[in-house]
């Protein structure tokens, strides 16, 4: 995947961008890229919950062949509040299986990745289930994100398709007692075909600088 600088240089090479300035193309591209940046709001935190497990292996494929549940592709990018990409971040996620159970004995549905130079990450998993205790805790995936020079982020991703939200997460998000904002509820894109539906969710993360 090309980063933004690569794309701009390709634009120059193909004539889509021309430099008409006494300054070098590199300087002009750097200034252009800087001016493109949008300040971002930090990702809201959410509780870490009691089921974090230390020493999770580096692994972005949490779904094993034959696993039940709707396959999920989870992806996003890590930024800071100035809009800069954070390429060195480490993301840990943990979630239940499709029936709402955490693996406390091993590391099923737990994974860790180092984001790439574009700040991008992805995991292959399944949509987690509701806890079996009939509480109103919605389907969620826990995130812990750390990066040198940034405030650690502990949060959770929720799914707009969760039946608790009744199709209106902006209105009904507080039905989950742990949800303080609808910002953590992400839309779900269905892909595949009716015989094998897959879900895709993007979750951009924004860290605060120290």
């Amino acid at each position: 995947m090309l980063n933004r600088r690569d794309v701009l240089q390709k634009c120059i090479a193909l004539g889509a961008v021309s430099i008409a300035s006494q300054f070098s193309a590199e300087e002009m591209l750097a200034a252009f890229q800087e001016s493109e940046k949008q300040p971002r709001k930090p990702t809201p935190p959410n509780t870490m919950g009691p089921f974090y497990k230390r020493l999770v292996p580096v692994n972005d494929v949490l779904r094993a062949p034959g696993d039940s549940g709707i396959p999920l592709n989870l992806s996003g990018q890590v930024f800071d509040t100035r809009g800069d990409i954070v390429p060195g971040a480490i993301i840990e996620i943990w979630q239940t299986n499709h029936k709402g159970y955490y693996d406390l004995e091993g590391y099923r549905y737990r994974g860790k990745v180092n984001v790439n130079k574009s700040g991008a990450y992805s995991f292959e998993s399944v949509i987690p289930g509701h806890y079996p205790d009939k509480s109103r805790i919605c389907q969620h995936i826990h995130y812990a994100v750390v990066s040198p020079g940034h405030k650690p982020l502990v949060t959770q991703l929720y799914f707009a398709t969760d039946p608790v939200f009744d199709g209106d997460p902006a209105k009904n998000y507080s039905r989950d007692p742990l949800l303080q904002t609808p910002e953590l509820i992400r839309p779900v894109i269905l892909t595949g075909d009716p015989s094998e539906v897959h879900a895709k969710v993007r979750f951009e993360l924004c860290l605060e600088r120290l």
């Binding site: 935190p45 497990k53 230390r54 020493l55 750390v146 650690p152 303080q180």
Partner: protein, 326 residues
Amino acid sequence: MRPNIAVFLLFFSMSITVLAQSARQEKAITLPAGVSVDIASASVSPTGNLVAAICSDDMLRIWSAQSGELVRSLKANTGAHSAVQFSGDGRLLAVAYEIVAYEKGTIQVFDVDSWKLEDDLTSLPLYAVIFSPDSRRLSDAGDLGTEIWDLKAQKKVASMSPPFGGSAALAFSPDGRWVATADQDTFVRVYDASTGNLHSSLQGSLLEPAAVAFAAGGKSLVVGRVDKTVSIIDPDAGKVIRALPKQPGLIWSIDVAADGKRAVIGYNSAEGFSDIHHLTLWDLDKGTVLADFQKPGIIVTGGTFVGDHYLFLAASGNQLTLWSLP
């Protein structure tokens, strides 16, 4: 002749049943219509006279344990109630509120006799608050870490937080010198309660600690974890001394008697937080179960040692019932 395992198991199960039956209901408090009690937020005064609980209508209610009458109700006028705790001498009641989620909270300290507001502290948002044994200091724990307050000076003494995540539970040592925290990054940490300086830390397990209490006059620390284990830890060295036999349930609370030899440990069902809660009374020296209480339809909300007995609150239907363990 050694008894065979079947005989042993029969004897063991009979003894548990007998002891469970000897848990006695002392009092009943009827909740207002349509109101339930937050399972994590209730406190029995150390004298056993008062019960305080955060209710589902966001009112804090305080009842007389003797008569079951409502003594006082406090409306959450500055945010949502998040924790409540009596001081060790029963003179004070700390009530915590969440003002802005993950940003700001408040702890109000009331004199239980006059209900006069003694302290009003701007804190982190929190879900556990405790007094030091001499009731002069207060410590709190939440998603952003732990704080220690000097109540007389009305100022924060220290703030501590793990590298990421917060603290799930905390305890003062009997001499008030140390504060132990059960941290969400899986460490148990012991801090100097005067300075907040780290004294020791222990990983011990890959999963999170959920409950912590000092025992044996502060010479050991009892730590319960989500992995169903209870460890006895040397708080100075940060090393596990020994472990209690594993029980089928996630640990959610630990309270140690004043003699430091017995502990009541609360277990959650592994099926979920609100399904089944039961309490087990342990002999910490022998590592044996003295009593187990489990009854369908009852959710244990909190408890405290009063003298040689342990009083606990159970929510059942629209009632809070106060029980005692032998």
